[in-house]
């Protein structure tokens, strides 16, 4: 909260410095994001992939796995998801969707399993390996796209049939007219709830948090630490692929190079802002999505890139305020 207030203050100063009225800007954001159906729809639409990816990362972070590789994992998953969807055209829609999602999950999960195995077998920190994997996967997908799968002179795969697209929210609630919001938002909420239950209410979740808190102690409690690490890395990475559901099945109907636009890194911040709590992640995703869409709303007054700056500031100030608060209590002897 402290960090949000700090960022807000900084933003107000910034807008004033470049000679605009901050009140105007916030009014614009408010009227566009909250008061219009289109804006609200777009915000929820943009929050959807963030919720998926951050929930996947939250699983990793709870196990103290620093997965910086979501960007690669979600691209591997979404790419495979799109290809599977196209090749399964003609099957009943539910089956096509289920199998494609499963294929995407597996592809992303396996991408996460490589650094996980290296960590478990060789004791090499996952930080560098996941960063390197990002580049390997993106280059590999780029190669496969350009040389084999992309529609000529584009960077996208063949589209799935119109009938295989998920229901748009505007079809049910005319309020959201024109926005790309679709039913995968509901799926994202359900995923967050499920991940919440897994982390906080199951034996596996308990083991996961135990390993994350103290690996050595967990070992002596009889927890199979390696197994927990492998499973949580696999599952966490796999879930990031679900971001593809929103884009492929809910929006465009195909996979496109660059669709992720570094969302795999933004999601790290989203998860941290919520202290890796999946319910909190829903809200921090909404905040980041509102900033993202709000940027478009204020573009005429302040360049929309101001919101990228705000996202960055939020991350740094969360880190700082967290630690400052902790130090403050430590000095008072409360903790």
């Amino acid at each position: 909260m402290l960090s949000l207030a700090f960022t807000f203050a900084l933003l107000v100063t910034l807008i004033t410095v470049i000679g605009k009225d901050p009140f105007d800007v916030f009014l614009l954001i408010y009227s566009d994001v909250f008061a219009s159906g289109y804006g609200a729809g777009q915000t929820l639409f943009k929050a959807t992939p963030l919720i998926f990816i951050s929930c996947g990362l939250a699983i990793c972070f709870h196990a103290s796995i620093f997965n910086i590789g979501a960007e690669g994992q979600l691209n591997a998953g979404s790419f495979v998801m799109a290809l599977t969807a196209v090749s399964l055209e003609g099957l009943p829609f539910a089956l096509q969707l289920l199998l494609s999602v499963l294929a995407g999950f597996l592809a992303a999960g396996l991408t996460g399993l490589i650094p996980a195995l290296i960590k478990v077998k060789k004791g090499v920190s996952e930080v560098i390996t996941t960063i390197m994997m990002n580049f390997v996967i993106l280059a590999l997908v780029n190669y496969l796209m350009v040389d084999f799968f992309a529609v000529k002179s584009t960077l996208r795969t063949v589209s799935i049939q119109e009938s295989s697209l998920l229901t748009k929210a505007s079809a049910v609630f005319p309020f959201f007219e024109g926005s790309s919001l679709n039913i995968s938002f509901v799926l994202a909420i359900l995923t967050a709830l499920a991940v919440y239950v897994i982390i906080y209410k199951t034996t596996f979740g308990y083991k996961l948090r135990a390993v994350g808190f103290n690996e050595t102690a967990s070992k002596y409690l009889g927890i199979n630490v390696n197994k927990v690490l492998l499973v949580s890395f696999f599952a966490g990475a796999g879930i990031t692929a679900l971001a593809g559901v929103n884009f492929i099945f809910g929006y465009k109907g195909y996979y496109e190079l660059g669709f992720s636009n570094n969302i795999g890194f933004t999601a790290i911040a989203v998860s941290l802002l919520a202290r890796n709590n999946p319910i909190g992640i829903i809200f921090s995703s909404l905040l980041f999505a509102a900033l993202d869409y709000g940027g478009l709303a204020v573009n005429q007054v302040v360049p929309k890139e101001v919101m990228l700056l705000v996202q960055g500031l939020i991350i740094i100030s969360i880190l700082a305020s967290d630690s400052l608060v902790k130090n403050f209590y430590r000095k008072k002897g409360a903790v």
Partner: protein, 303 residues
């Protein structure tokens, strides 16, 4: 294919390799100073980006390379000071801070770009850092030597080696990364050395960004294109040793030069697969397929 081969075995190609090595070595050497002091700095990419941008901006507004260089290094130092306060003084997780800085700097440059130049893609043209003219006439390697920052990088291989392994400063810096607890009992100001490490890393990676923007003669969004991460890879493959890091950078620069040669020749070899090589090799090295590698013992441990 023969055209590519003949292009590869030419003086021009070797010259190209040495020049392309420059940003990698500056970034990698910077990262090494930080990690030797025990602070993992994964925002080398961000620091290169910030400096490339600020150098272009200050060039446009002052027109003087010396002023632009000084101001650009200064702005990088300010960010590095913030980075060090968060990671060293507040002991915040270094990886998370690094990711945060990369995002913050990317946002900041994009925002300022639109604000100052009303363009989201690139700045107006700038003059780069000047060459050293009298070295141009040296036969064969004149092209390499006369490039100020390339020459600086080559000298840096020896200077950083000397600094890290032959001076009191280097010994203390390394002790902060190997065993800060022992170092502190010997009266070494561990935190100060960690600050030095981070500050040096920001200056050196800044020079890498400045080389890139000087070569390209304008700043464009995303121009660092992962070179900061390749620098980290080179540091790992070079096992945190200046000369070995230099070899790794030459190897990666060779890949890049090859990629360019292939693109020009129009040969039917996918360049994406060459782009993958630095990262794949790094993973293999880490796994232990190619030699053994060991980071400083207390690398990444807050102290």
């Amino acid at each position: 294919m023969t055209e590519v081969l003949s292009a590869v075995f030419s003086v021009a190609f070797l010259t190209q390799v040495f020049r392309l090595m420059t940003p990698y070595y500056l970034g990698a050497s910077g990262a090494n100073f930080s990690e030797r002091a025990g602070v993992i700095n994964i925002s080398i990419e961000g620091f290169m980006n910030l400096a490339a941008f600020s150098f272009a901006v200050f060039m446009i507004f002052t027109g003087s390379p010396a002023t632009a260089l000084a101001l650009s290094l200064l702005s990088n130092l300010l960010f590095a000071l913030l980075f060090a306060s968060l990671t060293v003084s507040l002991k915040i997780n270094q990886i998370v801070t690094g990711v945060g800085f990369n995002l913050l700097i990317a946002g900041l440059t994009k925002f300022l770009m639109v604000l100052l130049f009303s363009s989201s893609s690139n700045t107006p043209r700038i003059e780069g850092l000047p060459d050293i003219p009298f070295l141009k006439s040296v036969p064969l390697i004149g092209e390499v030597l006369s490039d100020t920052l390339t020459l600086f990088s080559i000298l840096l291989v020896f200077v950083s080696g000397y600094l890290l392994f032959r001076t009191r400063f280097g010994l203390r810096l390394r002790s902060a990364g190997e065993n800060p607890w022992a170092a502190e009992t010997l009266g070494i100001k561990v935190r100060a050395y960690k600050y030095y490490g981070v500050l040096i890393s920001s200056v050196l990676s800044a020079l890498g960004g400045i080389w890139l923007v000087s070569e390209q003669h304008n700043y464009s969004d995303g121009m660092i294109a992962g070179r900061g991460y390749i620098a980290l890879a080179a540091m790992i493959i070079g096992k945190w040793k200046p000369l070995n890091i230099f070899y790794a950078c030459i190897l990666f620069a060779g890949f890049e030069a090859l990629e360019i040669a292939l693109q020009i020749s129009g040969a039917d070899i996918p360049t994406q697969l060459i782009q993958m090589l630095p990262y794949l090799i790094t993973i293999f090295v880490l796994v232990g397929f190619i030699g053994k590698t060991r980071p400083p013992a207390a690398d990444g441990v807050p102290y």
